[in-house]
């Protein structure tokens, strides 16, 4: 298939220092993104670490404003700088993206690392045909003729399930439905045959049936192309469907990260538990959401960011830094002092949830 | 059509009545301020010793060209600037001064007047009378050629043009009145004889015989078809391409709103006069000439400052600056146009209460006496004007001299201030209405101060200043105030200055007088009034006809005058005096009669006379030719530039 080409990758390969298998596809360490605002410095993502491997789907979950979108957009530095500032290291195939020039980054964006966004309606320029926009993506990275680019574009549209692709290539975005638009966005993301797909709530704006189709499409594509996916969502249902691993973020910090089964079966952090209680089908008692508000991002509280809303919070929770990531099971990290030495972790365990989740999650898989 | 004598500049010297009348239109009566030439006693206005550093009016006084000299070099361009564009340069239909100048560059007329007001024959070989003005013989030069295919300009062309155009009913022409009643007859190839309706010893001075040369063959088709519209729109008439050797320059292009451009006419007929005037031998002396229209005053003035033009007319308040400027030459040209204050003696005048004091001679004298002419001249005309005591400028040969005149508004030697108040008191004695002084204030029967409506041209800065000045003076000296109103010139002309001619009769000094030929500007007796009421106006200045004083009969013959918007009834035997002037067999007889007329007008002040303004012309100092004379420009073909 035409999609299988990798002409553009050579650019990257030259810069690629290490390509051994044991290096994760994406390795993020100490990523901190802040913004200068009138009210002061706003730290949206505060010193987080995570990795994504090839073929793996990692989900970042959290409420609105928890910094998950910023985290993904910081990977290829889509964040506007200034007012934003990005710190830490982001190693992609072993290469620290932070060291790259803007030009080098551009050759990676849309090629090796692709993005899809929450709102397909807005994510496409209403003044251009979808074909133009796909062609643009192709021609930026490859010196191919319009004709070739068009053929490839039509193929891609076809591949993501747009009927009558060659005829619809010249239609404008507003002539497509929401689900179709997201398919087109995915097609656009696939033009460079990316190794990593950063998907920022790609299904949130869509209705449930369409959502399922899109997720299935992503799954299929992942199998076919073997790419890693970093998937942002606030919907634990989606997480359950697609994730291999899960990262729970709150107020710019990672609260808990684990294998998807692990996290559903044994949600360790009170915040994770609170999120799960919001899931209607899981007998949650917090349908109205978690009581309380996110802390002020320009002036975060001391100690655990979640302390103010946490039913188990003690005085210790509100001093010092965010508690360290404590490994409570293989690859299962939690940032909660109760898992530290001298605390009783059972206080925060939620047996009811764990019991409810274990079989059902299994069934869902 | 314009009988332009001189051919230069934008100023009014040598202007004919019609051209000047064109100026009666919208907003063009401004800048009528100015004064007699700088060669007179310059600053007689210093009378009231305000200690102002009055301009010494030290304008440049270049010598006139000595036409007996050898021809100068031909060089460069003569570039003149004017303020307003032309409606048409069709010589048959033009009525504007500016366009007259533009046509004059390409077409000469019969004769002109030199600095001594002597006739200088141009296209005519001669124009003379041998029977005290009963018939006039016109002889044409025999070296006059139209462009192909029209051939030579002969008496036939001239007579045909007069008879078939001006004396015909089909073609409305501005010159028709001049030729009404004139018998003209071709008596030879190059000779014609004209018989005016009345004998006239100064017929050439009426400008009536002046016509542009128009080929008969050009006119014929239109005359035959009675197509006056076609004649107006004829292309040849509009590009003057038939001019042959009849003018110093050939019109290259007329850019509407932009001006006219000319090239030198290599075959100019006047060269054949080299024997008489050697300096015409190679005329003209500019390769090209241009008249540019610049409407914006500041840009126009800037053009002379930066040397982009050779001639610009200046407003009075800029005169002094350019006189002091070494890089320009300022020439003051006297004009025949006066600055007057018109007072409405008709029934719709004097809106301040019952009666109409304007009808009382003493009151008009009081008005004239209450306004300090010298302060006007200094403050508003910036010294570039001379006082106006009677209906003739001082440079005119018909001016009777100031000895027998009352110098109204002259604080030093004449009647001014307190005396004006006395005159008002005299006037009050002659009326029945109950006007009187309450302290320094003239109050009417209703015990309110007399307040009069004065109208001025909204487009004229000078008039705006003037009405405020009059107001101050009248309040100070005779205790009346003015309410000033700016108005558009046309609107004033339509609704205030003219009315439907009704005619009628009135009893003047016990005599029954009839208006049998009413005109819009003299629609009838004082009871016939225009639509709108008005008291005073500065909108229009009038021509005083310094070359032919007889023409002033249009203003002052009472019921028979064709132009009497203010409703003036002479209290002297105007008709008799004018008849004497008409019957005069010699210039001396005419002069005596005219002196009588002007002495009476000085007493009567039919219009309150203020001043005669100068045209202030700024020139490139390299230009040789301009002089501070009324006839400035008659020798334009010999003008040239010093290297």
């Amino acid at each position: 298939m035409a999609i299988e080409h990798d002409a553009a990758e050579t650019i990257f390969d030259e810069n690629d220092v290490v390509t051994t298998d044991d290096v994760p596809l994406l390795e993020v360490e100490g990523l901190t993104t802040s913004f200068k605002t009138e009210a002061g410095r706003l730290v949206a993502v505060d010193d987080i670490d995570f990795t994504v491997d090839s073929g793996e789907t990692v989900c970042i979950v959290g409420e609105s404003g928890s910094g998950k979108t910023v985290a993904t957009e910081s990977v290829t530095q889509l964040i506007k700088q200034p007012p934003g500032t990005i710190g830490g290291t982001v190693r992609f195939k072993g290469q620290d993206l932070m060291d790259l020039t803007e030009k080098q980054l551009r050759s990676i964006r849309g090629n090796e690392i692709a993005h899809i966004f929450q709102n397909p309606q807005e994510a496409m320029n209403h003044c251009y045909t979808v074909g133009w926009q796909i062609t643009e993506a192709i021609q930026i990275h490859e010196d191919v003729s319009k004709k070739v680019a068009r053929a490839r574009g039509v193929d891609l549209l076809d591949r993501v399930g747009i009927d009558n692709a060659s005829a619809r290539f010249d239609d404008y975005p507003h002539e497509f439905s929401g689900g179709q638009k997201q398919r087109i966005m995915i097609a656009m993301a696939l033009v460079g045959n990316p190794d990593l797909l950063l998907a920022d709530e790609p299904t949130t704006a869509l209705d449930v049936t369409v959502q399922a189709q899109i997720l299935r499409l992503l799954n299929d594509l992942q199998e076919e192309f073997g790419m890693g996916i970093l998937f942002v969502t606030h919907d634990l249902g989606v997480v359950a469907e697609i994730a291999d691993r899960v990262i729970v973020m709150y107020s710019g910090k990672i609260m808990e990260s684990a294998d998807v089964f692990e996290i559903f079966e044994r949600p360790a952090h009170p915040y994770t538990q609170a999120l799960m209680k919001c899931l209607p089908e899981r007998g949650g008692d917090q349908r109205g959401g978690i009581p309380g508000r996110l802390p002020n991002p320009t002036n975060p509280p001391d100690g655990c960011r979640f302390a103010a809303r946490c039913e188990h919070a003690t005085e210790d929770c509100e001093v010092g830094e965010q508690p360290p990531q404590i490994e409570i099971a293989p690859d299962h990290h939690v940032s909660c002092i109760y898992y530290g030495e001298g605390y009783d972790s059972s206080v925060v365990r939620d047996a009811e949830l764990e019991a409810a989740n274990a079989p059902e999650t299994e069934a869902n898989r | 059509m314009p009988r332009r004598i001189s051919s230069k500049g934008n100023h009014a010297s040598g202007i004919n009545r019609r051209e000047w009348l064109g100026m009666l239109g919208v907003g063009s009566t401004m800048a009528l301020a100015g004064c007699l030439g700088g060669d007179d006693d310059d600053d007689d206005g210093d009378g009231d010793d305000d200690g102002e550093d009055a301009p010494e009016a030290g304008a440049d006084e270049p010598d006139p060209l000595d036409l007996s000299q050898d021809p100068p070099e031909v060089s460069g361009e003569y570039h003149a600037t004017q303020a307003s564009s032309f409606d048409t340069i069709n010589p048959i239909y033009n009525t504007e001064a500016g366009a007259g100048t533009a046509i004059g560059y390409a077409l000469d007329q019969g004769y002109t007047f030199d600095f001594d007001n002597e006739v200088v024959p141009l296209l005519f070989e001669d124009i003379y009378t041998e029977d005290e003005g009963e018939t006039w013989v016109i002889e044409f030069r025999d070296n006059l050629e139209f462009s192909d295919p029209y051939g030579q300009y002969t008496a036939e062309d001239y007579v045909y043009y007069v008879q078939e155009i001006h004396q015909s009913d089909t073609f409305p022409s501005a010159n028709s009145p001049d030729w009404a009643g004139v018998e003209i007859e071709q008596t030879g190839e190059l000779e014609a004889v004209a018989t005016p309706p009345n004998p006239n010893i100064i017929w050439p001075e009426t400008f009536a015989p002046l016509e542009y040369p128009i080929p008969k063959e050009l006119l014929e088709p239109y005359v035959d078809a009675e197509d006056s519209e076609g004649l107006q729109q004829d292309e040849e008439l509009l590009d003057l391409s038939f001019n042959g050797n009849l003018g110093p320059y050939n019109l290259e292009e007329w850019i509407r709103d932009g001006g006219t451009q000319y090239s030198r006419n290599d075959e100019y007929y006047l060269r054949d006069l080299a024997d008489e005037y050697p300096m015409f031998g190679e005329a003209p002396y500019f390769e090209t000439a241009q008249i540019e229209i610049i409407e914006e005053e500041s840009s126009r003035i800037a053009a002379i400052e930066t040397g982009e033009t050779d001639n610009v007319p200046l407003p009075p308040d800029r005169g002094e600056q350019f006189i002091e400027d070494e890089d320009t030459m300022v020439v003051l040209e006297p004009t025949p146009f006066n600055t007057i204050l018109s007072v409405n003696m008709r029934d719709n005048g004097w809106t301040a209460g019952p009666g109409n004091l304007f009808r009382v001679k003493e009151f008009r004298q009081a008005l004239a006496a209450a306004i300090d002419k010298f302060e006007y001249i200094e403050g508003i005309a910036n010294g570039f004007a001379d006082p106006h005591y009677t209906w003739q400028p001082e440079f005119s040969e018909w001016f009777p001299g100031t000895d027998d005149l009352t110098l109204w508004g002259n604080p030093e030697e004449g009647v001014y201030g307190e005396e004006a108040r006395d005159l008002v008191e005299e006037a009050l004695d002659q009326i029945d209405e109950d006007y009187s002084y309450d302290g320094d204030v003239l109050v009417g029967p209703d015990d309110n101060q007399v307040e009069l409506e004065i109208y001025y041209n909204a487009a004229s800065d000078t008039q705006e200043l003037a009405v405020d000045f009059y107001n101050n003076q009248l309040e100070q000296n005779i205790g009346i105030t003015l309410d000033t109103n700016a108005i558009d010139g046309t609107t004033f002309s339509e609704n205030y200055w003219s009315a439907d001619p009704e005619g009628g009769t009135d009893t003047i000094d016990g005599e029954e007088v009839e208006w049998d030929a009413p005109t819009p500007n003299n629609p009838g007796p004082r009871s016939v009034t225009p639509d709108e009421e008005w008291d005073m106006a500065t909108i229009f200045g009038l021509n005083t006809y310094p070359r032919n004083p007889l023409t002033n009969d249009v203003f002052f013959e009472g019921p028979n005058s064709s132009y009497n918007p203010v409703g003036y009834y002479p209290e002297f035997d105007a008709e008799g005096i004018i008849q004497n002037m008409r019957n005069a067999g010699t210039r001396d007889e005419l002069r005596d009669a005219a002196a009588e007329l002007f002495a009476n007008l000085n007493e009567e002040q039919p219009y309150i006379m203020i001043s005669f303004g100068d045209d202030i012309e700024a020139y490139n100092p390299a230009v040789r030719g301009p002089v501070p004379e009324f006839s400035n420009g008659w020798d334009f073909p010999a003008w040239h530039k010093d290297e």
Binding site: G65 | Q321, E378, I380, A459, E464, L465, D468, N485, D488
Partner: protein, 408 residues
């Protein structure tokens, strides 16, 4: 993610503010009746009973038998109909714009806070306040500039002019240049009029043009717009086509023609601009009215059986008021500019001391007495600028996301 804003000014139900009940008259209306009606009566009195020559107040004193009292108070003004209309408009402005701000203090404070952040706008407001106060009160303290031929072309204080241009120098003469004095702080014109006094009297005219024209435009535009929006169907269609035609007129050309034919007094100017200037406002109001009528609370009122007039009067007009005010603020500069342009072309009453007239009268002397043009020119420029800044700031304060230009 939308930030929570306090209830919009737009959506205040004015019924609650102004005392509910259908037949009660609001305090604003009462105040307007108490103050405005006498002014209008005075205007009619002036027009029909007082002669051209008489001073209105003198005659009024006579008619009321209070001449002596009037004289003692110095009440001898002779206002023109434009002046009277101006006073009326100011009352309208006070009771329907300023007073509501006071009545609704909380909103006012909120908007003031928003508005204050825009520094140019605050400066603009100060400038316009100066013009307003100067325009309303100035003529009572500063006499109309008087002609003084021997004080022509005096330079402003600290300035100087070549001696050849002045007849007589009020200040000192040094190096052949006449120096300015405090007697004429901003210099004088060709007629010796004090430029400062001209500028102050120009403020009055500027404010008169701004207020009265805007009132006329607002009255016609709002009526037309709302009626059109509410009538709907073919009435709407015809009315909007009519607006199309009004908007298609080559305006300046037409103004020239009309003012040229019928005379160009200030009153005529205001009338012509008022009558031709409302097209854009009507369109704008219509679109606003249509969108407001889609709002839930208006629909609710409709369902509850309120009449169309009541809905329009009570809900639509008040709730579009703020956007209309913004739009009106932004059209004022156009009127001021047009006046200046016409004055420059010589169409206009030279006796009315507008800034445009001052610029026009001084333009011939600009190269040696530039202050005559510069002073009123800068005043005009700054005022136009201030209205623009102010309009933009109000727009931003009322609706941060709004676009600066009015839509089609």
């Amino acid at each position: 993610m939308a930030t929570q804003k306090p209830t919009k000014f737009d959506q205040v139900d004015w019924d609650n503010l102004t005392g509910s009940g259908r037949f009660k008259i609001s305090i604003n209306m009462k105040l307007l009746l108490v103050t405005g009606v006498p002014v209008l009566l005075l205007g009619l009195y002036d027009h029909f009973l007082v002669g051209d020559r008489e001073a209105t107040f003198v005659r009024l004193g006579e008619d009321l038998g209070l001449s002596s009292q009037f004289e003692a108070l110095g009440l001898d003004f002779n206002p023109t109909s434009v002046d009277i209309l101006f006073v009326f408009t100011i009352f309208l402005f006070l009771w329907y714009l300023v007073l509501p701000l006071y009545q609704n203090m909380r909103m006012t404070k909120y908007y003031w806070k928003e508005f204050k952040r825009n520094r140019p706008a605050v400066i603009s407001l100060i400038w316009l306040t100066i013009i307003f106060v100067g325009g309303v009160l100035g003529p009572f303290f500063v006499a109309m500039p008087e002609q003084d031929l021997f004080a022509a072309y005096q330079p402003p204080v600290f300035g100087s002019i070549d001696q050849v241009h002045v007849n007589q120098c009020v200040g000192e003469i040094s190096d052949g240049r006449c120096q300015g004095t405090w007697e004429y702080p901003l210099g004088t014109t060709r007629g010796g009029q004090d430029v400062l006094a001209m500028v102050i009297h120009g403020m009055t005219v500027t404010m008169q043009i701004a207020f009265i024209t805007t009132m006329i435009v607002a009255a016609i535009g709002i009526t037309f717009g709302t009626v059109s929006a509410y009538a709907g169907g073919w009435v709407d269609e015809i009315m909007m086509r009519f607006v199309d035609i009004v908007l298609s007129f080559p305006t300046l050309l037409f103004f020239l023609l009309i003012l040229y034919i019928y005379g160009a007094g200030l009153g005529m100017f205001i009338l012509v601009f008022g009558l031709f200037g409302w097209g854009a406002t009507a369109r704008y109001v219509r679109s606003k009215a249509l969108s407001v009528s889609e709002e839930e609370f208006v629909k609710a009122t409709k369902i509850s059986g309120a009449g169309t007039y009541r809905i329009v009067r009570r809900h639509v007009v008040p709730n579009t008021a703020s956007s209309i005010i913004t739009q009106l603020t932004l059209i004022i500069p156009g009127f001021l500019l047009a006046e200046a342009q016409l004055a420059f072309l010589g169409i206009g009453d030279t006796a009315v001391p507008t800034w445009g007239q001052a610029i026009s009268s001084g333009r011939n002397a600009i190269d040696f007495a530039p202050w005559i043009v510069l002073v009123p020119g800068m005043a005009l420029f700054l005022t136009i600028l201030a209205f623009n800044f102010l309009g933009d700031a109000i727009l931003d304060a009322l609706n941060p996301e709004a676009e600066a230009e009015s839509e089609k």
